[in-house]
Every structure is written in structure tokens, then in C-alpha cells.
Amino acid sequence: MLALLLRRLAFTIPLLLVVSFLIYALIVLVPGDPAVALAGQNPSPAQIAAVRAELGLDDPFLVQYWHWLSSALQGDLGVSLFSSESVTSAILARLPTTLSLAFVSLTMAAVLGIAVGTLAGLKPGTWIDRVATVSASFGVAMPYFWVGMILVLLLAINVPILPAVGYEPLGNGLWGWLSHLLIPASALAIAPAAVIARQTRAALVEVMSQDYIRTANAKGLPRFRVVAKHALKNSSVPVVTVFGIEANRLIGGTVVIEQLFALPGVGQLAYQSVFARDFPLVQGVLLATATMILLINLLVDVSYGYFNPRIRQA
């Protein structure tokens, strides 16, 4: 297990380095003189000089990158061009909101997806299976931001039981926190739930035809144990794989959903920094996002070892 973790780390760290380089290199794409372009509307020479100094634009490119990377490794991602706030503290202040949103929404997706997929996979070819399969086909392609708006209309305006927008930290009470997250998290959960349901169904249909399931049935194990212990655990590798892919897509969705629902998270920060072309902030948020995604992928890879011991030796 430890060997697996180390092997994956040996792959992840160089990848993160390359990613960090590309993030930094984005500034090359800014047309014209980046210091002028990024200093805001009608900048004074002093403002341009300040931007130039903050971004270190007078140094050779690789030197600039090295300064940025070595500070980043010490937790210093520079200072916002406009608010003079430290980029690291801006991200850290907003991380709990995004993690809450991602956690609630992935939990919903996993519970719903595995439940529907299991129902369909245990009775392939029945009407339950057909309804589940068709719903999944629609769910995968649903515009999540629109689903969120319609949920606001139904659950916050027509029948006002949930708040439409805004956020309440967990520290202020469980229900306040959860009630603000339910609509945006449901919107983000639809597509991953559909993908997880499809994957669970396919894997379960395959596993249920295996000899060891027949053996487990033949020796008189209760149906629930056969499904939960034998079938579902062995169907979980492909399901965990899509869980990782969907977590990636979901983090992309948080950018849109957080802005739409006024959730003060990293996604909203990403949007605001892009809109203001606040480059140190853009780079910091991108690096944080990439790190988060690579960590999720690492966890997914390592969890294979738990679900399928054969991978541990591979």
C-alpha cells in the first residue's frame, strides 16, 4: 500500500511542476505589455511600475518563474494587484466554502448514483433499469447551472423552504450551512450522479454473472450480504475511477455555481480574479485548483488498492 502511494507520488510531483510552469507561463499570452494591460483602466505610470515590480516583469522569464515557485513552496503566492491582500490568505479564507460545496455535492452524487445504479444493475432489462438508464442519459447532459436556477424557482421562490443564494459557515449551525448548500450542491450533483449510476449498473451486471456470486448465493448467504459485500465491493473500481473524473469536472462547475449563488468560495475568487485580470490571484487560484485535483486523483489511485488488492502488487 505504501509502495503504491510512493509510486503515485513520484508521478504526481513532476506533473504538478509542469502544471505550475504552464500556469506561470499564461502571462506570456497577455497581448502587449502585461504591466500596462494588467494595471487596470487608464493606469498612471506609477501604477504600471507597481504592477511591473509585483510581477517581477523586468527579470528574465525563468528567473521570474523560479521566484514565484520558490515562494509558492513556502506558502507565499504573492499579493493581489488591486486589493493588496495576500493571495494565499485570500484562497485559504475561501477554501472551506468550496470544500463544503464539493463535499455535500459529491456525497449526494455518490449516494444517489450508487443507489440508482444498484437498483438497475440487479434487475437488468426491467422497467426499473430502463427508467434509470434513460434518466442517466438525460442527467449527464443537463445544464447544471440551469438546474440550479429552476431549483431556486421551485424551492426558494414558489415554495420558500430554502434560501435562494448566499452562504452560512458551518460554525454558525448545521442547518444554516446545509440549507444554503442544498440547491447549489444538487445542481452540481446531477451529472456525476448520472455517470456514477451508469458505471455502477454496468459493473454490477458484469460482477453478478461471476462464479463467486453464484457460489455465495449457493451457500445460502443472505441476498443483502451477497450484494453489499461481494458484488458492490468488486464493482467499485470503475465507480471510483469515474468518481475521480467527476470530482475534477465538479470543481470546474463550482466556478459557475459559486458566482451564480453568491457563495464566497475559491470558484468565485477564480471568476473575480479573471474578470479583474488580477494575475497573481489568477495564478494562485489555478495552482490551488490543480493541486486539489491532483490530490483527488492521488487518493482515487490509492483507493484502488483497497478495493482491489490485486492492484497493490501490480
Partner: protein, 296 residues
């Protein structure tokens, strides 16, 4: 297995019986067939927008602001009194063209590189594969807004950004097929008689890699349409007053309490189009897929 006679080992081009079998299989998939009809109607309505739309998309009817459906305005009006139906039709042209443009950019980048990587192998393949890995580390929308941060908002920048974001998907599909097809006897034969690599890729490999590519293009169109809508919703894609389904939805959301219809219509248009592209992609995969073909 009988002995292989080289003269009868035909190239697996889509032959006429093959096409007919594909058409039969595709038509048997009612979801995919329905999706094709729906998408056809949406495309037709968008193309014919100047003929079908009762008003100019920017025409303002001051007396009828935020109006409900009526004989004059079949789907009502927005906060400036502009006709929703007309704006929806014109927005369809922008949104569909934007998604198509993104997919064209992705195809132009991804397909040739996929062919080269799969055909050349070695360090070229390794390098291109790692570039694709890195690009796919980011969620599509995050990478797109990062590129927009550098180049500035607007339809063209947004679509080029999305094209770059989706290129690795097409790259991977084409590279995978190329790797498999490169092992086929007819490619070996063609190499041994000295056909240049470029014509082998164009004449033998690309035609045989088309099926999985088409499936992926259809699914990518759905993703691009969704991403364009999300970007325009946020004001990073199509910029008003040009209507797109995404910015209509974004504007509609600000009026959701008074005029919820402004959220329903563009949303339904986006949902119908993305679901159709997805169902068509699924239908193509099932009708062309090897797993299914085995049992036929």
C-alpha cells in the same frame, strides 16, 4: 479460422452494406433518432432565424416590458421589452456556431497530433501524451477562464480557449485508434512498398479512425455548448447585446422572481441541444461500436 488470402483482406472502409447496417442500428435506437430530429429542428430554426423571428432581436417594445406570452409576443418579452422568441432564435445561431467553432479548433489541433503520436510512437508519443495529461489536469471551464484571463473576454477568445481545452479528448481518441490500426496488415504492406507516412495516415488510418472520432466529436459538441453557455452566463463569453442562450439565461436569472419564463426558455433550449448531442453520440457509439458488432 481459414487461411488469410491477402487479396481478399479488404480495407475496413465503411462499405455500402456497412452503412446500411449502421443506419438500421441507429434508427432502431429510438432515443438517438428522437434526438436527431430535435437537434435538426433546433439547427433549422436557428439557421432560419431571420425568416422565422417575428422581430429584430434588439428591437425594443417599451410598453411591453417583462410581458408574459401574448399573440404579439409568443414567448413574452425581457426587461427592455425585447421579444423572447426572436432573441432565442438568434441566440441559437450564436450558441451553436460558437460550440461548432470550439470543436473545429479542437479537431484541427487534436486529430493531426493524435495521428502523429499514434503513428510515430516513441518520444513524440510520450511528449504529446504528457502535454495532454497536463491539460486534462484542469477542469475545462477553469482552463478556459484562465486563457480568457490572459487574452480577454469575447466570443472568439472563449471559443479558441475551449478548443484548446477539448483538443486532448480528440487527441486521445485518435491516438488510440491509430495505435491499433498501425498494426494492421494493410498498413504494414503500405509501409513496406514505401508509401509516405503522410498518405498512410490520410488514406488508411484516418478513415478507419473516423467512427470513434465522430462519437467523441458529438459528445464534445455537447460539452462545448454547455461550457459556452456557462461562460456567457458569467459574462466571459458572448458579450451583450449579441444574444446567446447563455447570456439570455444569465439576464433571465436576475428577473427570476418577476418573470421566471425568462429562465425557462433559454434553459430548455440549452438542455434540449446538449441532451441531443449526447444521445446522438451514445447512439453513434452503439451503432458503430465493436462490442455490439460482434453479436450482430
Amino acid at each position: 479460422m481459414t487461411t488469410m488470402n491477402p487479396a481478399t483482406t479488404t480495407v475496413a472502409r465503411p462499405t455500402l452494406p456497412g452503412l446500411r447496417r449502421f443506419a438500421r442500428r441507429y434508427a432502431a435506437n429510438r432515443l438517438a433518432l428522437g434526438a436527431t430530429v430535435v437537434l435538426g429542428l433546433i439547427v433549422l430554426a436557428s439557421v432560419l432565424a431571420p425568416v422565422l423571428a417575428p422581430y429584430e432581436p434588439e428591437q425594443i417594445d417599451v410598453l411591453n416590458r417583462l410581458a408574459g406570452p401574448s399573440p404579439e409576443h409568443l414567448l413574452g418579452t425581457d426587461s427592455l421589452g425585447r421579444d423572447t422568441l426572436s432573441r432565442l432564435l438568434y441566440a441559437g445561431r450564436v450558441s451553436l456556431a460558437a460550440a461548432a467553432l470550439a470543436v473545429v479548433v479542437a479537431t484541427v489541433i487534436g486529430v493531426p497530433l493524435g495521428l502523429v503520436a499514434g503513428y510515430a510512437g516513441g518520444w513524440v508519443d510520450w511528449l504529446l501524451g504528457r502535454v495532454a495529461d497536463v491539460l486534462m489536469t484542469f477542469p475545462a471551464i477553469v482552463l478556459a477562464i484562465a486563457l480568457i484571463a490572459a487574452t480577454g473576454p469575447g466570443l472568439t477568445n472563449a471559443m479558441i480557449a475551449l478548443g484548446i481545452v477539448y483538443a486532448p479528448r480528440l487527441f486521445r481518441v485518435v491516438r488510440g485508434s491509430t495505435l491499433a490500426i498501425r498494426q494492421e496488415t494493410y498498413v504494414e504492406a503500405s509501409i513496406s512498398i514505401g508509401t509516405p507516412a503522410r498518405s498512410i495516415m490520410a488514406r488508411h488510418i484516418l478513415p478507419n479512425a473516423l467512427s470513434p472520432l465522430l462519437v467523441q466529436i458529438s459528445l464534445t459538441l455537447a460539452a462545448a455548448l454547455l461550457a459556452e453557455a456557462a461562460l456567457s452566463l458569467l459574462g466571459l463569453g458572448v458579450v451583450p447585446p449579441t444574444p446567446s442562450w447563455g447570456n439570455l439565461l444569465g439576464r433571465g436569472f436576475t428577473e427570476i422572481r418577476s418573470t421566471p419564463l425568462l429562465v425557462w426558455f433559454p434553459g430548455i433550449a440549452i438542455a434540449l441541444a446538449t441532451i441531443s448531442f449526447n444521445l446522438i453520440g451514445d447512439g453513434l457509439r452503439d451503432a458503430l461500436g465493436r462490442e455490439v458488432r460482434k453479436g450482430d
